[in-house]
């Protein structure tokens, strides 16, 4: 009788395993090739592509676990249901405990899966230069040339041209309830439009002039909180032409829901044309803007007054003082 039970158990285990294996392979392959390429945020930037890949990897790892649980549940319901003639009632309680093989297998398999995914995620964040997330003023991971670009931007000597592989710094300024963008390598002009060149490393310097906002361009897979008097740095590399939407993802007041705009990734040549034309068109107003700085602080008039550079001098430094905070003070 015991041998028959053991044989039955092995038979059930084999059957469950084969069904699980076939279903997992088929559904994982269907997902990977049919669904995966269409999963948000798409592939407009390096971080978007990498995050789509990461999500798909997580999904194909998780799907077999889900299939295993559902399959076992359904198999049990149909195979060992109590009304089936000749099938003994399931045994529970203390007599069912103590299957060390099952316990050890469960602990080992789940531990290995979790640790591997943790390592995978860590590597993805590092190789993705922060994966498009805000890395505060002192990013641990940054693309080559970013510090040089930032230093030049602050000194007013930054340049960018097509086919130079240079990093393009873009300042994102949040204020109730609109985003504006400054381009320090083009005279520091400010615009309501976010236009980016294709195939270029972009360094977003995100800050706020009032309350906390959050810069979220999900097709770019960039998301960074915009905090007043803080410079939150995020990186990505554009890889596809197209339009994207920028939203505020931090509840910031009555018009929070209207705080969005559309941006574009255009060819490097088209970007150069747009940037130089806008720099010229906005030249008068650019002269009236505060000198480009990582963050801006209010003058003595507080909320009703103008904003001025706060004096953070070097890239990623929150300490060094840049001249006086206000012109003429």
């Amino acid at each position: 009788m015991a041998e028959e039970n053991s044989t039955d158990t092995d038979s059930h285990f084999r059957r469950i395993t084969i069904i699980w294996l076939v279903l997992s392979v088929v559904l994982d392959l269907l997902y990977w090739f049919l669904v995966g390429p269409h999963v948000p945020p798409g592939r407009m930037t390096s971080t978007a592509r990498a995050d789509q890949f990461d999500f798909n990897v997580l999904f194909v790892v998780a799907l077999p676990v889900l299939i295993g649980i559902w399959e076992f549940m359904l198999y049990s319901v149909f195979t060992w249901r109590s009304k089936r003639a000749g099938v003994p009632e399931p045994v529970g309680g203390p007599t069912a405990a103590g299957n060390k093989r099952a316990e050890v297998s469960w602990i080992v398999i789940t531990s290995v899966v979790v640790l591997l995914l943790a390592a995978f995620g860590t590597v993805s964040v590092i190789t993705g230069k922060g994966s498009g997330g805000g890395e505060v003023p002192n990013p641990l991971w940054s693309p080559s040339g970013s510090v040089k670009a930032e230093t030049a931007a602050l000194a007013g000597t930054g340049t960018w041209a097509p086919n130079t592989n240079a990093v393009l710094p873009v300042q994102v300024i949040g204020q109730q309830w609109k985003w504006t963008y400054r381009y320090p390598t083009f005279g520091g002009f400010e615009s309501s439009q976010l236009i980016l060149p294709d195939n270029t490393n972009i360094e977003f310097n995100v800050t706020s002039l009032d309350v906390i906002h959050s810069f979220w361009a999900y097709q770019l897979e960039v998301k960074a909180d915009a905090n007043p008097e803080e410079n939150n740095v995020a990186f990505t590399k554009t890889e596809q032409l197209g339009s994207f939407v920028v939203r505020c993802s931090e509840l910031c007041g009555i018009w929070h829901g209207a705080m969005f705009n559309y941006g574009k990734v255009v060819s490097q040549t088209a970007f150069m044309t747009w940037a130089t034309q806008t720099e010229a068109a906005n030249a008068t107003n650019t002269e009236d803007l505060p000198i480009f700085a990582w963050t801006y602080v209010p003058d003595a008039n507080g909320a009703a007054g103008g904003y001025y550079p706060d004096g953070k001098l070097t890239p990623y430094s929150s300490d060094e003082v840049y001249g006086s905070k206000q012109p003429g003070s």
Partner: protein, 227 residues
């Protein structure tokens, strides 16, 4: 007291508490009460520009918040200013806008708002003179802006100087110093679009953006664009 009575009492108190919470939250998130729309479509000849006149005043002088800064709209039917900031406008139509600005000014939080954008010609007139940008750090500064974010439209409204600032709407041009600004824009397709001031002019509120800046009917409103 019986068990039933006690349960009824607890349930009653619970419902009262829930009601108070719902009322409190609803009060907090309701952006003021706007009386309605000023209609610019009834007398509108097809294809002709709409003439829309508004004024800004440093304190409206009456109503629930007499000290609050506000816009007022000139009703095209009566010719009188009304405390309404939402307008029904025809789609794809040029709007010729006139703003009488009676409030004082200050430097802009973001001087980018000093640049005229999104109007026809990307310009406006200030007391009859064409301009494309205004340095808010000079002169009398900028009092308010008229902005329709969805259209990327923004026009700085230059502040007035002196002590004789109008504090009771409607203000008469002959009695108080003011700036007159004109500009034109084209309405988009049918839909609802918000417009607002970007100057944090609600003194006494966090970052100047509470109070009148966060209440419909004062420093913001809606364009109900109809076909």
């Amino acid at each position: 007291m019986s068990m039933g009575g006690r349960l009824a009492g607890v349930l009653g108190l619970f419902l009262v508490a829930v009601g108070l919470v719902v009322w409190g939250v609803a009060t907090l998130i309701t952006p003021g009460v706007s009386g309605g729309l000023v209609n610019f479509t009834h007398t509108q000849a097809a294809g002709q520009p709409v003439n829309l006149t508004v004024e800004t005043v440093g304190s409206i002088g009456y109503g629930a918040h007499p000290t609050w800064v506000s816009y007022l709209t000139k009703d095209p039917h009566t010719g009188k200013y009304v405390h309404e900031t939402s307008w029904e406008l025809p789609a794809n139509t040029v709007v010729d806008m006139t703003v009488y600005q009676y409030d004082s000014g200050s430097p802009l939080r973001n001087q980018q708002w000093g640049q005229v954008e999104g109007t026809i010609g990307d310009d406006a007139t200030l007391n009859g003179k064409d301009f494309t940008t205004y340095d808010s750090n000079t002169g009398t500064g900028v009092g308010h802006t008229f902005a329709i974010p969805a259209l990327n439209l923004i026009v700085p409204l230059v502040g007035v100087g002196g002590n004789n600032i109008c504090g009771m709407a409607p203000c008469l041009p002959s009695a108080f110093p003011h700036n007159t600004e004109t500009f034109s824009f084209k309405t988009p397709g049918p839909g609802t679009y918000n417009w607002q001031c970007f100057v944090p002019c609600a003194l006494g509120y966090l970052f100047g953006n509470g109070g009148a800046m966060s209440t419909q009917g004062y420093m913001g409103g809606e364009l109900e664009v109809v076909s």
